[in-house]
Symmetry: C2
Subunit: 500 residues, 2 copies
């Protein structure tokens, strides 16, 4: 059957106020661009006529500015899940009085199934970027997958942004597989990082497909080089791995690595590549960044499985040129599979994620600045941390030029509990929390990870705590944050101010 | 080869100061009794001679008084993991100044693998209760499994308490299977609650077995009946399930139930059995309590998989008499399997666990009283909650005659984050957190779950928060707990006392 080609504006007209819209992609990678921009225009037009126009946005993770940015600026969002990094979206989520955008923060691996279970309302429309769409309804995604298989199956209408800038020969790099729901669910047939269990495309009834042609550019921006602190964190992680191998706690074949998003993740991978005592390894992760591709070219990484190629525009262009090299060494999966705890635990993945702050017991805040303002969301950190062979959190010991300590008496929002966190690393060192009780954890974290400027204050806090299994003082535990809110510097913390 | 029979005293003499000792069982069920008591005596003798004598204790979960109680009272413990409920053990963990007993609180499903990975030091000796041990080295556990397969394989010496009070025909009720470690791990071949994948016994080299004969009684004590509040909580859970089935969010075949330990769990199951709109269902859980067996007899539950028969002594005796009825309807597995997140997510288990306190955003404290004193440990609540189809937490809205509110502005210790908690239930009602942002969560939890006496205070707290995605006030968030510590009643909370 011939496909139905329409303009982006016509596509936007298919979407109604109050619709739940599922978008392809994971980070900016693989997200549609022209339809969401047209949709933002449409919302503004409707608003100018006095008509309401807001949609629910479901994605794999964060998205590009054309999507989250345009729609947030157009005040066209009623609901957003599961993750976001766009400045305007973030401001809308944080700044108004009463849930102006309801943001629902959920583990990325769980979103597709919770949509299927009916827990979050239906998905009415899917908007997905593709590098190919066939007359038999095969849709080949671009550089990110996310929840694409689920939203394409469930939506009544599937709008495909067919992007001519992405080479059709990307076909074959994806492994598209959707799980059955309980009670019919089977195991996921992945036993190696490179296992393939699905199709090269998402298959949809052609009648519900509308194609919008585009050549919009990747929204990856430029690569930020590592700095002194992040590279020291990377070295500390790499040295810790070497010592774990010597002890026999990591097997000599090594184990697959998951590494979070951003600069520190790039630095950690870089340091692992530079360390001659770490053998060639595999990556089973959600986001594949520039550093991974470089290390694959250099032979440090033998195979990579992920959900998206979250690359700078330069790296993306280079990747397309080297597609023949990468095609049998890399696979892109839906987030439900890339982040699945079953696989994480089976493969024995070593998970490395970034903390906003950690407390002296190893509880981690991954989401909230000063306990109130949402940064990005929990993302996949929980999917990996909770089931990892070894879960590692990394963070610079301070932020804001030393005025914020990343190591605090108590985290202001907790996303990962001490029960799931094994190793904490800053530029100062490595705290190993395995088998340690709370006092020993506090000592280890303060002495190995905290910035020296904050160590006396942290020790003083411990000395002021009420004794028990976990030493705490409910009058002083947020003195660091109070000092920052009042004076702009946690070093002014007055631990005794409210003491009884 | 003939087995080596020794006395309990001789067995205790095989254990040295500083040894790590692994014990069979899960809760009091299946724990050895006479050897730990002799070991406590031995420790006291050594201490009286001025010799040090302390061991590390590894179990499946909590244990009986002969084990945790005797050894804690004898001051014979240097390290304890992963869970405990004994008064003397708890006091030792909480009362002294500097980790006198290092207690390491870990998800129960992870203990066996972390022992194998080498993260917690080796296990030198295993002490396991059995109802049968053969000359070929087959050890048949009694009413609880826990980490038995792993400690028996790793330990140099396996002391078997052969308990003649437990009928040998229990053989066949266990399904003993130990996972391979990464990178060789395969999937767990369980696709139905009743799947069997292992052996009826733990097999060990006979040369390392020493048998101690005993007829020690089960340490189950008596059954506590449900009261008005717990039975109302049970009804609220059962009615919520019926409404979820009507909406189609729970399939008409229902899904397997996990239900935590204690009185509320018994009440929830009881209410489910009394509700005619809930079909016959299956149980995939860790601890099988009295209520489950009664419901199996009545036909409300068709099959039960668990790690232990944690029964009152009356129910245990009755169970042995009815063994022919139960044998093809019940299986006991190692904790690594009974609590495995891979299975929990695959089978779509509905997890019901008890909270000590919940905050207005749905974060849960399962372990610490007033943030400092350890109650029991996280147990299996994290194994189930994190991967459940639907995770439910239950708690009475108040404790200590109304002077403690279980719903607070912020939990003093967080074991389960808002990301993993879907439903919260008290005797007042059901808060559904799915798809809701923090403001809506707070409204839902305060209005549906909090005790009416505390609702105005909780609303006042929200009104005093700093706006942002998650409304919080770091000066007032522990005012409830401060009021309790100072006056013995949370209702005296002065939310404005420290406000800036």
């Amino acid at each position: 059957m011939a496909l139905n080609y329409i303009s982006a504006k016509e596509a936007a007209a298919l979407i109604n106020h109050n619709d739940n819209v599922g978008f392809s992609g994971f980070t900016h990678a693989g997200c549609p661009k022209v339809v969401p921009k047209e949709l933002a225009k449409r919302a503004e037009e409707e608003h100018s006529k006095g008509n309401p126009f807001k949609i629910g946005i479901f994605t794999g993770a964060s998205s590009g500015d054309s999507l989250d940015g345009s729609l947030a600026r157009a005040n066209a969002v009623k609901f957003r899940t599961p993750y976001q990094t766009n400045k305007d979206m973030r401001n809308a989520i944080n700044n108004l009085d009463h849930d102006p955008i309801v943001y629902f923060d959920i583990h990325l691996s769980q979103l597709a199934q919770e949509i299927r279970y009916g827990f979050l309302g239906g998905v009415d429309i899917a908007v997905v970027e593709a590098c190919e769409v066939t007359e038999s309804g095969e849709i080949v995604p671009t550089s990110g997958v996310g929840i694409t298989p689920t939203i394409c199956r469930l939506a009544k209408i599937v709008i495909v942004e067919l992007n001519s800038r992405v080479p059709k020969k990307l076909r074959g790099i994806h492994d598209i597989y959707e799980l059955q729901d309980p009670p019919k669910r089977r195991h996921i047939n992945i036993f190696e990082v490179q296992s393939r269990i699905g199709l090269e495309y998402v298959k949809v009834d052609t009648q519900k497909i509308f194609v919008v042609e585009t050549d919009a550019e990747n929204e990856g921006g430029h690569f930020t080089p590592v700095d002194e602190i992040t590279s020291k964190i990377g070295e500390n992680v790499a040295n810790m791995f070497v010592s774990e191998m010597k002890k026999g706690d990591i097997p000599p074949t090594f184990l697959p690595i998951q590494s979070g998003v951003g600069n520190i993740a790039n630095a950690v991978l870089g340091a692992m590549g530079n360390n001659k005592n770490i053998p060639r390894f595999e990556v089973y992760t959600e986001v594949i960044q520039d550093a991974v591709l470089d290390m694959m070219r250099q032979g440090n990484i033998s195979f990579t499985s992920g959900c998206s190629l979250t690359l700078s525009n330069e790296a993306m262009d280079k990747f397309y040129l080297d597609l023949d090299f990468f095609k049998n060494k890399l696979v892109l999966r839906p987030s439900e599979i890339s982040n699945n705890p079953e696989i994480v635990r089976r493969l024995g993945i070593i998970g490395i994620n970034t903390a906003i702050e950690a407390d002296i017991f190893g509880n981690i805040n991954s989401t909230h600045v000063m306990g109130t303002n949402m940064m990005n969301g929990i993302g996949g950190s929980g999917d990996f941390t909770r089931s990892a062979y070894l879960s590692v959190f990394v963070t610079p010991s301070t932020a804001k030029g030393g005025m914020i300590s990343a190591i605090v008496p108590k985290v202001t929002h907790e996303d990962h509990s001490e029960h799931s966190v094994k190793i904490l690393v800053t530029e100062y060192g490595v705290a190993d929390l395995r088998g340690k009780g709370p006092y020993a954890r506090a000592e280890e974290i303060i002495e190995k990870c905290a910035h020296p400027d904050y160590r006396p204050l942290l020790h003083e806090y411990v000395s002021l705590t009420k004794k028990g299994h976990t030493p705490q003082n409910l009058y002083a535990c947020f003195a660091f944050h109070q000092a920052f809110l009042e004076t702009g510097d946690m070093k002014n913390a007055d631990l005794r101010r409210y003491l009884k």
